[in-house]
Symmetry: C2
Subunit: 289 residues, 2 copies
């Protein structure tokens, strides 16, 4: 009887559960984004920041600096393409490009899609970001060894003050504006950038989220306007950045940054039509700047 009863009863199987490991970014004091983590791949305190690379359940591998998600394999194209192709496609003939930060190589990869570009100089202060990206993020770092890539590990401010190099496009891929990156959103830095731009040069920099970082966004655009004759804002979606709504500042010495001059193939977020649409701002955002 007892045995029959046991046979009829479906055995209670405890479901296999994954490790309940989460990467949580405190995007603001009152908002957190969490991604489920499959495995922690690399963790190190470098000379400049806490470096973490994890494999997430839904967004592929993620690069995290000082607790802030810098990129994930799944959605980095949304950011990298808009940082690179908007200034490059607005410029009539971009031969020399400067990237400040961006040691992971994502924006460099997009820049080198442009056949006009003869050399792209990338200045990242932290060699460990570059090395870890080469090892753990191959789809992102794949062009760091390209012959058209000139990768240097040094303080960008020192580089800008001492270099004789001149550029057609500068792209500032900063971390959040704290500690060593704080100066990268202020007029003296923009003046340094202006000095190393050729006539008709263009600068692009991330300017954060209008919901999460309103004041920083407003100030960055304000500081750009002190230095450059043409300053425009554009925006796009980046799911793993705070609020998913991401803004960019485009400063120019002559070309209209909102007008693409040529198409680029093989992109997943950027097109010439997206380029133009990204400069159409909702009134609430227009009113902030």
């Amino acid at each position: 009887m007892g045995i029959e009863s046991t046979k009829k009863t479906t055995p209670v199987v405890r479901p296999t559960r994954e490790n309940n490991l989460w990467l949580t970014e405190e995007q603001t004091d009152g908002m957190r984004l969490s991604l489920r983590v499959v495995q922690t791949l690399y963790q190190k305190k470098t000379a400049y920041q806490d470096l973490l690379i994890v494999d997430t359940a839904e967004y592929g591998r993620a690069l995290v600096l000082d607790g802030a998600i810098q990129l994930t394999e799944r959605d980095e194209f949304c950011y990298s393409e808009m940082m690179a192709h908007v200034p490059l496609c607005s410029h009539p003939d971009p031969k020399r490009v400067l990237i400040v930060g961006g040691g992971d190589g994502a924006i460099l990869r997009e820049v080198l899609r442009h056949p006009n570009v003869e050399l792209c100089t990338l200045i990242d202060i932290d060699r460990e970001v570059i090395e870890a990206s080469k090892k753990y993020l191959p789809s992102v770092s794949c062009e760091l060894e390209n012959v058209r890539a000139d990768v240097r590990c040094m303080d960008a401010l020192t580089y800008l003050e001492t270099t004789g190099d001149r550029f057609d496009v500068a792209i500032v891929d900063s971390t959040d504006p704290v500690e060593f990156a704080a100066g990268l959103f202020q007029a003296p830095f923009y003046a340094d950038i202006k000095r190393i731009l050729n006539p008709g040069g263009v600068l692009t920099e991330l300017t954060e989220s209008p919901f999460a970082d309103t004041e920083l966004m407003r100030q960055a655009i304000c500081e750009m306007r002190k230095v450059f004759p043409i300053v425009r804002m554009y925006w796009g979606a980046v799911p793993t950045y705070p609020t998913g709504m991401w803004t960019y500042g485009a400063a120019s010495l002559a070309p209209d940054p909102s007008s693409p001059l040529r198409e680029i193939q093989g992109t997943r977020y950027y097109t010439g039509e997206i380029h133009k649409a990204a400069f159409v701002l909702p009134p609430f955002l227009e009113a902030m700047i």
Copy 2:
């Protein structure tokens, strides 16, 4: 000696901390968004869903159904304006409008900005959502008592099958497609909507996030195409919805939903230029549908 030592030492003051209360939405199995909560205002298990209204630290009051954020006071305009003004501004003369769901009143408020609209019928299955919104979300529910608002608490499927009313624009503001809302993303439902539309009518429905709900988004557009001759997708930012990148399906019997025919005043997200820009899809999104 002991006393002197005590005087010199700065006393350890434990900082005043807020309640560490968080609203956490499991947006997908591997992604969570959390908002810091100041106070829980109302919590009830209704006949249809778990209803929660909280006051958040950064997004004002939030309406939460079955654990999913339906709106926050701070960013609901991004969603409400795009749901209402895209179909209404595409229609040459929208006199009668139907809202399915939307008991909070946010979309109704936007619909009634249009002087053409003579009557807007709102069908929400859950009277408790309407009553709680009236009490706790005055900036959202403010037009629920408008003489041009015809608010009814009943199952929308029953209404569609039995009504003799006809509409120029239908807006489907569903919750996530589970349980009683599951039918609201399928061809038979779209056929019901088509039947109550006047010639030249337009339908808009949210179609979720391409990163968080790819399959649902694809299916909803596919099902719409089985019923309507013109189906287009558009998108925009909504910070507190999954991934912040939100898509909408626009189905039409004649007008081009991507072409605004008139402007609307007093909006914070929508403009005619935003309307057109929202229909420009990144290639990765275009490829999904």
